[in-house]
């Protein structure tokens, strides 16, 4: 029998069992749609993490207390704050660390900011003038914190663009934090990147003010941001910073260091690895649903073979070869999965369009996962179609005829 007629015969029989065909197709449809949207969400979050971290610049080092990265963040978790302002002074010294361009200590906490018109809660970081350089940010209007603001423990504050607009504050206004009045001296240029967490929602005050009146911990800092003079000197800046800290902390064995230094590229690759693992995990779950859909196809094809035993016997009596019947049933399974796969692509793309607009979850759909999902769906259908098709092909014509 020609391929065309085999396909025609297969289609006729699928159309003859419309409801069953539709239900079988649904299994594949949702499997493919799940793979596409899950990989799309994973891709989007990986993109946003990458964008956010690389916006920090590739010549950034972060020093945190304790030997793990997590200890220093927000100063929590019972890790002793081993970083001090004298560490900062040592790192700034060009004699000790010629390849370090900027050193910005950070002590931060979540505070409520109150303006004349509204209030807004955000992360307030105490830092120095170097904060701008170390974070590769720019001032939009007004000016940034100066060295004299730091030494005088001035009550001045620089706001992120989102924070400023939420507070309805502009340069020169007074706002209060913990009932202490601060003068807004500058508003940062927007960082423009949308991730989970908005880089334009923050505030910066002189580190001395933060230590003395907001976050606490006079003299100690939660972490220190360093930037090297260029990307090429990142390695030597790392070595210099390590040397300075070992000396100021009186540590002789480098493995006993009570701080850790991470580079932004390290953080980037770690974060990418994490999102990748997560994406693979979720995609595997979605792939299992595709597999379940494939088993559904096999199930239906087996039912179909059993139900059509008489028809198979008749076709054999009329001259259908085992090969003819094998092809017919494999094609039926293939058509079911191909249709399910294509509808699944449609559903996945629709989800990729609708989800970001309704659930505020970013989805980035790239062609490769779509192609792979469809290819896997069709392969699943053909593989799971083979067994029922073999059963059909091997039926003895007299047994099959007798079944009627």
């Amino acid at each position: 029998m020609s391929l065309l007629h085999t396909i025609e015969t297969g289609l006729r029989s699928l159309l003859g069992h419309r409801l069953r065909s539709v239900l079988t197709t649904l299994g594949i449809l949702f499997g493919v749609a799940a793979v596409i949207s899950v990989v799309g969400i994973g891709q989007a979050s990986s993109d946003s993490v990458t964008a956010r971290i690389s916006s920090l610049g590739t010549n950034l080092l972060t020093i945190t207390p304790g030997s793990t990265v997590s200890g220093g963040v927000f100063g929590g978790g019972g890790t002793a704050n081993t970083l001090t302002m004298s560490d900062v002074a040592g790192l700034i010294d060009h004699q000790n660390a010629p390849d370090v361009a900027a050193v910005a200590p950070v002590s931060q906490g979540r505070e409520s900011l109150v303006s004349t018109s509204s209030n807004w809660s955000t992360t307030v970081s105490g830092s120095t003038a170097d904060w701008l350089v170390a974070n590769s940010r720019d001032i939009g209007t007004g000016s940034f914190i100066t060295a004299s603001d730091v030494s005088s423990q001035a009550h001045v504050i620089v706001l992120g663009a989102t924070t400023a607009s939420n507070l309805g504050a502009s340069v020169g206004d007074l706002i209060t934090v913990k009932q202490i009045p601060f003068q807004v001296i500058g508003i940062l240029a927007s960082a423009g990147s949308q991730g989970f967490g908005n880089q334009d929602d923050l505030a910066v005050v002189p580190i001395t003010t933060a230590q003395g009146e907001l976050v606490g911990g006079v003299g100690s800092v939660q972490r220190i941001l360093l930037s090297s003079t260029s990307q090429a000197t990142l390695g030597s800046a790392y070595i210099e910073a390590n040397q300075v800290l070992l000396q100021t902390h009186h540590i002789t064995n480098a493995t006993q260091a009570d701080y850790s230094i991470t580079s932004s590229t390290q953080v980037l690759s770690t974060a990418q690895a994490v999102t990748q693992t997560l994406t693979i995990l979720l995609a595997s779950v979605a792939a299992i649903s595709l597999l379940v859909g494939g088993i559904g196809v096999m199930n239906i094809m087996l039912v179909s073979v059993t139900e059509r035993t008489g028809e198979i016997g008749l076709r054999k009596a009329l001259g259908a070869t085992p090969g003819d019947l094998f092809r017919q049933f494999v094609i039926e399974a293939g058509v079911l999965t191909a249709v399910g796969g294509l509808l699944g692509v449609g559903t996945g793309l629709a989800a990729g369009y609708i989800v970001p607009r309704t659930a505020n979850i970013a989805v980035t759909i790239t062609p490769l996962p779509v192609l792979i999902a469809v290819a896997v769906a069709v392969a699943v259908g053909l593989i799971f179609g083979v067994y029922p098709a073999l059963r059909a092909a091997r039926l003895a014509p007299i047994e099959a005829l007798r079944a009627q």
Partner: protein, 252 residues
């Protein structure tokens, strides 16, 4: 179809093909030659000998009726004649070719090109129209003029006005005529009918038998397996089976 179907009564009595009367190595003189066919179902204690050292010849152009009580091996004979099953031992010559050792695919080709089947249960596909049913065997041989051939075959059984009807829209007799058209459409060397009137009332039975007789008179070789005593007068030769053997063969 060299030999025109003889008029009733002209056929001479042919004894049930005693072995040795024919050249042993070929069945070329006959359309069909069964040589010591044995068919055993199952094995050991459960073994059933359905055909027991069974020999039979069928001439081209003959209309042969095979009768016998239930369980005597008629359907088994039909399956082997129709290349639907292979014998346990013995040889089956079809048109001079030994088909008893062919594989499944080769047997499928023999069925498709040389044999037309008519079953007791009609065996029409319910979702297909009459002409689509008749067309089926042509699909398995890559024929191009399928619709024209199917319509011609339906015309031969007097169903030109029912080509687009589905089986459920046809009477039993009409359904069996569609099945005969399907058996005819490939212009086979042999038409095998297993109890073709078994599910029909007497009027429809006479119709179907008349069509089979007409086809035979046009030169078709037909083997009818039947219980129906009405068939015997139509046939040129009737053989009777019992316990997987021929008990006798008589002229009609």
């Amino acid at each position: 179809m060299i030999q025109q179907g003889g008029a009733p009564g002209s056929g001479s009595a042919r004894p049930a093909a005693p072995r040795g009367d024919f050249p042993l190595q070929t069945g070329a003189d006959h359309l069909i030659r069964l040589e010591s066919i044995t068919k055993i179902y199952g094995s050991g204690d459960a073994a059933v000998v359905a055909l027991d050292d069974f020999s039979l010849d069928v001439e081209a152009g003959e209309l042969l009726a095979v009768m016998g009580p239930s369980g005597s091996g008629k359907s088994t004979l039909m399956n082997i004649l129709g290349c639907l099953d292979t014998p346990t031992s013995g040889r089956y010559w079809f048109g001079g070719e030994d088909v008893s050792r062919l594989n499944e695919t080769q047997l499928a080709h023999v069925r498709n090109r040389r044999i037309g089947f008519v079953f007791q249960q009609f065996q029409l596909l319910p979702r297909l129209s009459a002409w689509r049913n008749v067309e089926l065997p042509l699909l398995y041989r890559g024929e191009h003029d399928r619709r024209a051939l199917a319509l011609h075959a339906l015309d031969q059984v007097g169903l030109s006005n029912r080509v687009d009807h589905r089986p459920t829209q046809l009477s039993g007799g009409q359904q069996q005529r569609v099945a005969i058209a399907r058996a005819l459409v490939t212009d086979p060397d042999l038409i095998l009918a297993d109890e073709p009137t078994g599910n029909l009332d007497s009027v429809a039975s006479r119709d179907v038998l008349a069509i089979l007789r007409d086809l035979n008179q046009q030169g078709r070789t037909i083997v009818i397996i039947t219980h129906d005593p009405e068939v015997a007068p139509v046939a040129q030769r009737t053989v009777v089976m019992r316990d997987g053997r021929l008990v006798h063969g008589v002229a009609a």
